[in-house]
Each structure stands twice: as structure tokens, then as C-alpha cells.
């Protein structure tokens, strides 16, 4: 095993390479797309602008330069901390991402924690009592939901709880017509419930299935057989050996699932009109807001890669066999 400084250095270099590669591809895609940044900027005023003025804007923005020059200029600005100006929100891109991400963070963070806790508990129970009624219920739940698209669940929840039953609000992060800073905590929570449910339901299913598979493997291990020979009950085994040995894989899956969480939040936020980063992504795409779209792409990459790195680092930290490389030889039977 490589030592910690090398592990961290290696990860930073890799992250930088990934970010550059993503920037390159995203930029190329934006360039190849039919979105014309000048049209997107002008909007309805497009009729008032002649070809000469368009050429002036293009020259001012550097759009008349070769693509390579445009890319290096953009990358240079990015490295200098200037993410550009978002036409959609009429604010600096960094500011848009900052405020939007804070809104999303509550939603995604809670969904992430719920998926982890409930998914893990359900997975342990299903795996320890494999073939029992609990396992059957959990399996049906997990398989059905793991194969269901997020937006469909979101629409279904909206139809049942907001439209038919009227228990929850139909949209947004607060009541319509109330300034964001005036929304009470209770209202905030009321508006959070459905998006959170839509996002968690799927996350729970994923973690539960992964944990269940690991748990079944654990139940067949020698140390569980030994615990049984000591007269341990199934609950004893599930809590003492199962949870301990299934925790690492579950945590890894949880961190590795940040990408799916992000993707899910884009869909859920769109359906519930929840003003987070996911909704901003779609707005930016529809309005041709290239700087915002590219910045969100890079931000997502950073977010997901960091999650994966944390997962790997945790593995090294928690497993005693990996923390102590000299002792591994002693494990021979």
C-alpha cells in the first residue's frame, strides 16, 4: 500500500487531470451545440440588432477568435477565479452556484443521510434473515424502486400527496409570493418533504440492495459460523459482525453514489420547481447560458470526484488490515 502523502498527491493530480478533460469535452460540446450565445444573450431584443452590431458583440466577447484561443482564455479566467456572468440569473456565475448549491445541499444532504441510514438498516435486516418475510418485502421494495426513474416517482408523489390529498405544497422551496428570507422554518420543511422523499426513496433502495448482497456474503463467512457455534443469536450476529463488516462497502457505495444523487436532484428539483442547483442546470441548458452550464459541469465533477476520493480514503482509514501493512503476513493460517 502506498503511504498517505503519495495517496493524496496522486489523487490531487488525478482530480486535476479529470477536471481538465471534463472542461475540454464540455467546452467542445458547448461549441458544437446549436446554441448561439449572442442570440441567448439578446433574447427578445434580437429583432432590434443588426448584423454589424452582432459582429461587434462577437468581437467584444472574443467569439471571432479560433476555438483554441477561446478555450485557453476561458480556462485562464476560470483559474483566475472568474467563472463568468450568468445571463439567466443576471449575476456572477460563482454567486449563482453558491446560493443554488446551498439550497440543494439541504435537499441532497438529507436525502444522502436518509439513504445511508435506512438503506443500511434495511440491507442488514434483509441479508441476515435472507428468505424471510422481511427480506421479501425489502427486496420487492428495492427492486421496484431501483428500476424506477426519479422523475416518475416525483410526479407520482406530487399527484398523490399534493394534488389529491393536498397535504404538501405543489412546488418551490417556500410559499408563492413570499420573499425567500421571510419563509418560516416550518414552511421550508413542508416544501422540502416531497423532493426529499423522492430523492431518498431511490437512494435507500440502492444502498439496501448493496448492503443485502454484502450481508449474505458475510452470513456465509467462517466467523459467522464460529459465532453460531458460540450460541450467538441472529440479531447478535447481524449487529456485532454484520453491521461492522458491511459498513465499509456501504459507505463506499454511499460516497460513490453522489453522482446519481446529483442526477436525481436535477430531475426532482425540476418536477417540484425547487430552486436548487439541479434546476439551475436545466435553466442554463434551455436558455443557452454557456458560462453557467460549464461551471456547473465542472462543479459537479469536482463534487463527485471528491466523494469517490473520500470513499477510498475511508476504506484505508477504517480497515485495520490496510492501516498496518507490516502485519498482513501474520494473517496466514
Amino acid at each position: 500500500m502506498q503511504p498517505w502523502p503519495r495517496f493524496i498527491a496522486f489523487r490531487i493530480v488525478r482530480l486535476a487531470l479529470v477536471l481538465i478533460a471534463v472542461a475540454l469535452v464540455a467546452f467542445a460540446l458547448a461549441k458544437m451545440s446549436p446554441v448561439d450565445p449572442i442570440n441567448a444573450y439578446l433574447g427578445p431584443d434580437i429583432a432590434k440588432v443588426g448584423p454589424e452590431q452582432r459582429a461587434l458583440i462577437a468581437a467584444e466577447w472574443g467569439l471571432d477568435q479560433p476555438v483554441g484561443v477561446q478555450f485557453t482564455k476561458w480556462l485562464g479566467n476560470l483559474l483566475a477565479g472568474d467563472l463568468g456572468w450568468s445571463v439567466t440569473y443576471n449575476a456572477p456565475v460563482a454567486e449563482v452556484i453558491g446560493t443554488r448549491f446551498r439550497t440543494s445541499l439541504v435537499l441532497m444532504g438529507l436525502a444522502w443521510i436518509f439513504s445511508g441510514l435506512f438503506g443500511f438498516a434495511l440491507g442488514i435486516a434483509a441479508g441476515a434473515w435472507q428468505g424471510g418475510w422481511a427480506d421479501r418485502l425489502i427486496r420487492v421494495y428495492a427492486y421496484v424502486l431501483a428500476s424506477t426513474p426519479t422523475f416518475w416517482i416525483a410526479i407520482l408523489l406530487l399527484m398523490v400527496f399534493s394534488v389529491s390529498l393536498g397535504w404538501t405544497p405543489v412546488c418551490c422551496a417556500g410559499p408563492v409570493g413570499v420573499l425567500p428570507e421571510d419563509v418560516t422554518l416550518v414552511e421550508r420543511i413542508r416544501h422540502l418533504i416531497l423532493p426529499l422523499a423522492a430523492l431518498s426513496i431511490l437512494g435507500i433502495a440502492q444502498i439496501a440492495l448493496h448492503t443485502r448482497a454484502k450481508m449474505i456474503e458475510i452470513m456465509r463467512s467462517d466467523y459467522v459460523l464460529y459465532a453460531q457455534a458460540q450460541g450467538a443469536s441472529r440479531l447478535d450476529i447481524a449487529l456485532r459482525h454484520g453491521a461492522r463488516n458491511a459498513a465499509l462497502p456501504a459507505i463506499t457505495v454511499l460516497f460513490a453514489s453522489l453522482g446519481e444523487l446529483f442526477g436525481g436532484s436535477v430531475l426532482a428539483e425540476q418536477v417540484f420547481a425547487y430552486p436548487g442547483l439541479g434546476r439551475a442546470t436545466i435553466e442554463a441548458g434551455i436558455r443557452g447560458d454557456v458560462p453557467l452550464l460549464l461551471a456547473i459541469t465542472l462543479f459537479t465533477t469536482l463534487f463527485v470526484s471528491t466523494g469517490n476520493t473520500i470513499a477510498d480514503a475511508l476504506y484505508r482509514l477504517v480497515d485495520p488490515r490496510m492501516a498496518d501493512p507490516d502485519a498482513v503476513q501474520g494473517a496466514a493460517p
Binding site: 463467512s221 467462517d222 466467523y223 459460523l225 464460529y226 459465532a227 453460531q228 457455534a229 458460540q230 450460541g231 450467538a232 447478535d236 456485532r240 459482525h241 461492522r244 463488516n245 480497515d319 485495520p320 488490515r321 498496518d324 502485519a327 498482513v328 501474520g330 494473517a331 496466514a332 493460517p333
Partner: protein, 270 residues
Amino acid sequence: MTLLEIDSLSLHFRRYDRLFRHVEVEALGAISLALEAGEVLAVVGASGSGKSLLAHAILGILPKNAVLRGSLWFDGRPLDGTAQAALCGRRIGLVPQSVSYLDPLARNGDQLRWAALRAGRSQRDATRLAQPALQAMGLDPAIARDFPHSLSGGMARRLAMAIATIGEADLILADEPTNGLDPDNAARVLDRLAGFARRGKGVMLITHDLVGALPYADRVAILDGGRLIDVEPASAFSGRGDGLRSAYARALWRALPQNDFSLPEALHHA
């Protein structure tokens, strides 16, 4: 006093042959054995002879598709599922085959403490008993804070013996306790097992190493292909083996390098 009595025990595994027809594959056939308190009974056989399955059958930890027939008696009472659940870890202890039987992510001390809790000890007693149990097996109490991967094979086996005896077990089932150990460590482990017998416990020593087990065993049961060939007194394995009753045991004894190294007919046809 007869501690364990095995009466015409047979073990089959149910397997699906083609789609719906299931067949039973015999693993152990009609085994009758008795183990007295205070003795070391060596159960000797090649790998695949069903030695470990015999121990697992006594403990009631066989796989789901196992079919057990015949009867087991412990201390004069039938050893059925309920009795096994009540006695395993308390009056019957297992010393398993390898380090892989210890949870790799749990500290040694915790695993010992859990065994005590499973044997019905209180939380306080379990903590109090852990250190003397390690010392009794010649282990440094400091290893309680370590994880199993840092134990040597011999230390792991001694930890397993501490686990097996922390519940004051009367019957110790030792499954290949000297596997992979050098002669010194093997002798130390066997010596402790024999010590249990001297203090009145019954020890079933499951091994493939006949010669290694002889100095510590009182009687030797020979298993082959899931069947019990014979039970001989350990003292009969001496000289040319003329005191041995069964032809198979005699042949096995004479085939050893330090004896005649001959391969008589009996081994082929048994």
C-alpha cells in the same frame, strides 16, 4: 462418565439433480461413538473424510441442505436443536480450523468478551474474565486491543481456546487445531488441550495428523470416506501395530514413513 454419545449418526446433503428430482449425497454414515469426560478422543481422517462435519453436526451449525439422522446425547440428555442452542458456547466449545474464523474487523478482546456474553455471562463478568482467560492460554493481555490479523497462527489458536473455555465448557471440539503450525506451537496447543482433559473436560481432537495426536490422545477414532473404521486405544499404535484390531488402522500405521512405509492391501480396499 459418558459426556457425548453419538448413536448411528448419518449425514446427507440434499442436492438438486436436473430440475426437480433431488438426490441425497452421503457425507457421514452410521457413526457411533462415545466420549468420556476427562479423555482426549482423537478423530483422525484424511481431508474429505467428514471430520469437520462431525463437529458441525454436534454444534448444530450444518448448512441448510443437510439431513441428519440418528441421535446425539450430551450428558445423558438428547442433544437436539433446542439443546444445541442452549449448550453451544456454554457447555460445548469449538476451537476452529483457521484464523478466518475470527472477525477481521473486531478487536481480539471484544471477540473474547462476546463469547463470554453468549455463554450467558453478565457484561461485568465478561470484562472481568477476559484478561485471566488470555493469560491462562499464555497470551499477553495487550493483544486484546489488537485485531486478529496481527496474531500468529499459534496465538490465534490459543485465543480460540480462550474463547472456547470462557464459558466453562465441558466438551471441547478442536477442529484441526495444529493445522499450519510449526511443531513447537503445535505441541503447545495440544498440551493445553490435554490439560483440559486432565481437569475433567472431554476433548474431541479432530486432526489428519495421527502421529502428532498420539502422545496426547487416549483413544483414536479413524474416519474414512464418512465412515467410522474403528476406535483404537492410542497405546495400540506402537511397534508394528500388532495391538490394533482393525486391518485399516494397522495398515495406516505401517504405511507411515517412520514405520514400515509399506502400502498393504487393506488401505486400497477399505
